[in-house]
Symmetry: C2
Subunit: 157 residues, 2 copies
DNA sequence: CATGAAAGAAGCCGTAC
DNA sequence: GTACGGCTTCTTTCATG
């Protein structure tokens, strides 16, 4: 799908705040509310906009700790990797999981209430998998930036 | 702010899809649309819901690569660290940045169009800071999970 | 104090131009 | 692309347990 300057301007706006009314969006990008409606609907259908969600502050739900875990696997056998991926996907505390090339194999970003909860999770996710050679834990002291906005237009030099 | 079962059920729903109408939400949790409206407004004001945003598919904007970078700093002097944090915050390709305890000091999750863009960013962010001892690059081969939903209720173990 | 019902305001979205 | 109009959704008020 081809995106013009109007689409990009709309994407930039709704990535910051999806509650802005379509006529306010129109005023911002110089378009009628009907045109805004059509463009947003199109981008939703084409998957440019994956979904619209509320972002919840983890602290208000007791999730005080962000932990990053680098996991090294024993075997790269596809069925074993898939089983691991599935267990990471199913775990609600796992916010993100990347399968990476490099020194380790998986990088996980997790949200936990306390260290006990993390310890418990490492048992479930790593020890019980029987395919984890080792893992390294990095505890976040400061979540400097936790963003969701994809760069739009010419921001990225 | 104290959250009851209704609030938690609403949070769980709007974290998945914030476009559901308030009366549909009400039907789901057994509450009138007016009550849903009041509760959502309250949680917005108290910061339990930080914001509501559209999630954009990076691939549709040409951002094909996810790169994780572990940065080791030269000096832990506060003013130098702050300057680094600011530069990470200001960089739109940096999706997340954590200041961590452990083997390295910063973990960055970045979204780039290609390796050239990443190389260019490492120059701007790391070499020009004059406070980076070294960094390790992990390229994601598969974004297994990139979620935003904070666990709610008894999902956690 | 939070709820549900109902009325008024605001926003969405199809049709026409 | 814009302008209009019906229809849905939101939001406030008010009486109630």
């Amino acid at each position: 799908m081809r995106l013009d300057q109007f689409d990009l301007a709309l994407l930039e706006a709704v990535q910051q705040d999806a509650t802005i009314s379509q006529q306010d969006l129109g005023a911002r990008v110089n378009l009628s509310s009907a045109a805004v409606n059509r463009r947003l609907k199109k981008m939703n259908m084409h998957g440019v906009i994956r979904k619209t969600v509320a972002l919840v502050d983890p602290a208000h739900l007791g999730y005080a700790l962000t932990v990053i875990t680098e996991v090294e696997v024993e075997s790269e056998r596809l069925d074993l990797l898939d089983a691991m991926k599935r267990s990471f996907l199913a775990c609600p505390q796992v916010q993100q999981c990347y399968y990476v090339a490099g020194a380790c194999d998986f990088v996980l970003v997790m949200l936990v209430r306390n260290m006990e909860e993390y310890t418990q999770l490492t048992r479930e996710l790593f020890f019980e998998s029987n395919n984890v050679k080792g893992f390294k834990t990095l505890v976040s002291m400061s979540n400097v930036k936790v963003g969701t906005a994809v760069p739009v237009g010419s921001e990225g030099h």
